[in-house]
């Protein structure tokens, strides 16, 4: 009987202890940070769009194929409010198939998918299995509502571990998406009436209206702002095309243009002309738009967009100098003056000279260039005159005679005709 009495004693001792069960729907025990219930997409409050760009890596790596994604061009990219060119359009996860193995979170390069680590992830009971196919709205709901406050990312842990193991300090937590601060910032922006997304860049003017020339200038502008790595890639691609076309005999026009634009040596082989240097952002206005170049593809350097770009560059460099407290260098001042920026007035205290000398209005500006405003306004005339002078100077530097149509425009704009001795070299300092 001793065993039975010991058993009774045990049950009596548990009778006196506090019960361990809790009333689930009312009280819920705190979930650990690494808890993972089901994958959900995270919402980028800074750009008011999901982080997911639809690259489909997670769907490919999923052992049970429970994800389907559809990608499309990001409408916000041209508006300049987001630098993602592609964004997710439709995204389904079949929670009935998902086995919660966390592989998708690990392989996602954009930290776009995270495991829901709060109770909402556990309350997915439905009556029909098909309701478990969650589409993008449901998947984003958790993060959009701010419930997914601190999603856990295993990769942060691996990198942090590796860093700690080597003795360095742990890198900052990688997960920026869907953070409460970003959500608060967005709320303020909306309160102040601005757009829900940060304005990343100037909204791009609709390309179609500017036509081929502007298209050219648009490309030039693009070349100007491109990173060296991209430039090299574009140049090599152009050279490759050129090589292939050389075997077939005739090299097409746009390949030559590309070669020229990206200042590739192959250009000199084909056309025998020296390759103009690419206008790096620091140098203000040395776009090599020789009027006489064949097939005027390079586009007119004085198009309004170019002017505006140069003015902003000048202002930026001037601003930097001012911040550093140095005296603004001469050619930046000159650039400011040319592009009539208000900053010039603040620095030198007088009106930008660009508008002062009422030079005769040279009529020979390319008719289609002046998309906005009256083509013969004093500012336009002055700009055309200076362009004519510059091209004439280049011809002199290359040792050629100034072509007579250029002479006619110079006379018409009664600009000072530079002589071969005039070595001032204008503004294209290297």
């Amino acid at each position: 009987m001793i065993g039975i009495l010991k058993g009774l004693a045990t049950t009596f001792s548990t009778f006196t202890r506090h019960p361990v069960t809790i009333q689930y729907p009312d009280e819920k025990h705190a979930l650990p940070e690494r808890q993972r219930s089901f994958p959900v997409l995270t919402w980028d409050f800074d750009h008011d769009e999901p982080f997911c760009t639809g690259c489909n890596i997670c769907a490919r790596n999923c052992p049970v194929d429970c994800m389907t994604t559809v990608m499309h061009d990001n409408p916000k990219h041209p508006e300049g409010t987001s630098d993602r060119r592609k964004i997710i359009e439709k995204f389904w996860i079949d929670y009935a198939r998902c086995m919660r193995c966390n592989i998708c979170v690990e392989v996602c390069p954009f930290e776009a998918i995270a495991m829901d680590n709060n109770w909402s992830g556990h309350e997915h009971s439905v009556y029909d299995r098909r309701d478990l196919h969650l589409d993008i709205e449901d998947l984003l709901a958790v993060s959009k509502s701010g419930e997914l406050a601190n999603p856990f990312r295993p990769l942060d842990s691996i990198e942090a571990n590796a860093a700690l193991a080597e003795g360095e300090d742990a890198p900052p937590a990688g997960f920026q998406g869907g953070r409460p601060e970003a959500r608060a910032a967005q709320a303020e922006r909306v309160a102040q009436g601005q757009g829900a997304a940060i304005q990343e860049r100037e909204p791009e003017v609709q390309e179609a209206a500017a036509g081929a020339a502007a298209g050219g200038t648009a490309q030039d502008d693009e070349v100007a702002t491109m990173s060296p790595r991209k430039l090299r890639a574009r140049r090599m691609k152009a050279e490759r095309d050129a090589r292939t076309e050389q075997e077939t005999g005739e090299v097409s026009a746009e390949t030559i243009a590309a070669l020229r634009r990206y200042a590739s040596e192959v250009y000199t082989e084909i056309t025998g002309e020296p390759v103009p240097p690419i206008g790096t952002p620091a140098v203000a206005a040395a776009a090599p738009a020789a009027a006489g170049t064949p097939a005027g593809d390079v586009g007119d350097p004085n198009s309004p967009r170019k002017l505006r770009a140069r003015r902003m560059r000048a202002e930026r460099s001037a601003g930097e100098h001012l911040e550093r407290g140095e005296e603004v260098p001469a050619e930046t001042l000159q650039a400011l003056n040319e592009t009539e920026s208000e900053l010039y007035k603040q620095i030198t205290g007088n009106d930008p000279s660009g508008t002062a000398p009422a030079a005769a209005a040279p009529p020979a500006a390319p008719a289609e260039a002046g998309a906005q405003g009256d083509p013969n306004s004093p500012r336009k005339l002055r700009a055309r005159r200076m362009k004519a002078e510059r091209t004439a100077k280049e011809h002199l530097e290359r040792g050629e005679a100034i072509p007579d149509d250029l002479l006619a425009t110079l006379a018409e704009l009664d600009a000072t005709i530079p002589t071969a001795a005039d070595g001032s070299g204008g503004t294209d300092s290297s």
Partner: protein, 380 residues
Amino acid sequence: MSVWPEERVTPNSDLDTVDMTVNVGPQHPATHGVFRMVLTVDGERVVDCEPYIGYLHRGLEKLSENADYRQAMGWWDRTDYLAGMCCEGAYVMAVEKLAGIEVPERAEYIRVLMMELSRINSHFMFLGAFGADVGSFGTSFTYAWRERERIYDLIEEVSGDRMFPTYFRIGGITMDLPENFESRCRWVLGSIRQGLEDLDGLLTGNEIFVERCQGLAPVTPEQAIAWGFTGPMLRATGVPWDIRKAEPYSVYPQMNFEIPTGHQGDVFDRFHVRLAEVYQSARIIEQCLDEMPAGRVLAPKLAKTLRIDDGELYMPTEGTKGEYGVYLMARGGTQAYRAKLRAPSFSNLSPLKELVVGTYVADAIVILGSLDIVLGEVDK
């Protein structure tokens, strides 16, 4: 009369009784999962037993051959779903040995710690369910479940998921232990010991329990080895064989622990061996916590997708129910050419007919409970 099915008449018995087939079907509280056993019963005695398995067959091996090594992890910890980490550990060690990947020291220690936690988890499931089989109306069940919940919470804090942690990776583990893990783990070990005392007090000395289990389906060591018993089933017959000691792997050689063995190999010894093993596992966990080295938890310079050229390997490990062996054959490429699981419950269950014939219906249920089978790994 319609009630009496025309069954085979038992020969050489004076009263022409009719044998009745009792269908201990897939949905039965005592079959620990979807397992069906058709007992032919003469009165209360079992005359014949026909086990039917395969209800939980999910094609583990076919799936593993059509997914790369990392993806297959999710299926392998669903075989012995009571001890997710043990299965993952076996699979991961097999792949690493095949690919020749070196795992950092700290990861090995954490793996051993997690595997032992899962072993305790699975043994508690046995202790709880066995008490219910013998009839103590769920008291032992709730005692065992209290501990299992605490172990699951600990595993959830470490890996993020309770039953299917997919916490190990080929080449180490996904993430290091959280900061408060050591204190949490020691607290859980304390509550495990308390739970064990409760269960011990409730069942072990109990005269009725002893009466029900003593001398029930005893098995000699030779019979056990012939039937392919491994793990607690074999140790209950007195053979001190544990793969963690016989063919050591990972950092088990640095751990010191005993191998509890029984005398008669009957149901009572099996219960005792598993009860004692929980104490040993707790000891191992404490040693792991004390000697845990610092350092990386994932091998450096791991390939993005693992490719293993020709080679084959059979990696036996000590699962909770017995020898959990993983056979892998690779012929280049990211997917295993053949993956086979040697499931301990599969072999432990095969001689059910010889064990059960001749006992009572109530004993058949208790014997089935003592085998501690998990249908996830029987049906693969």
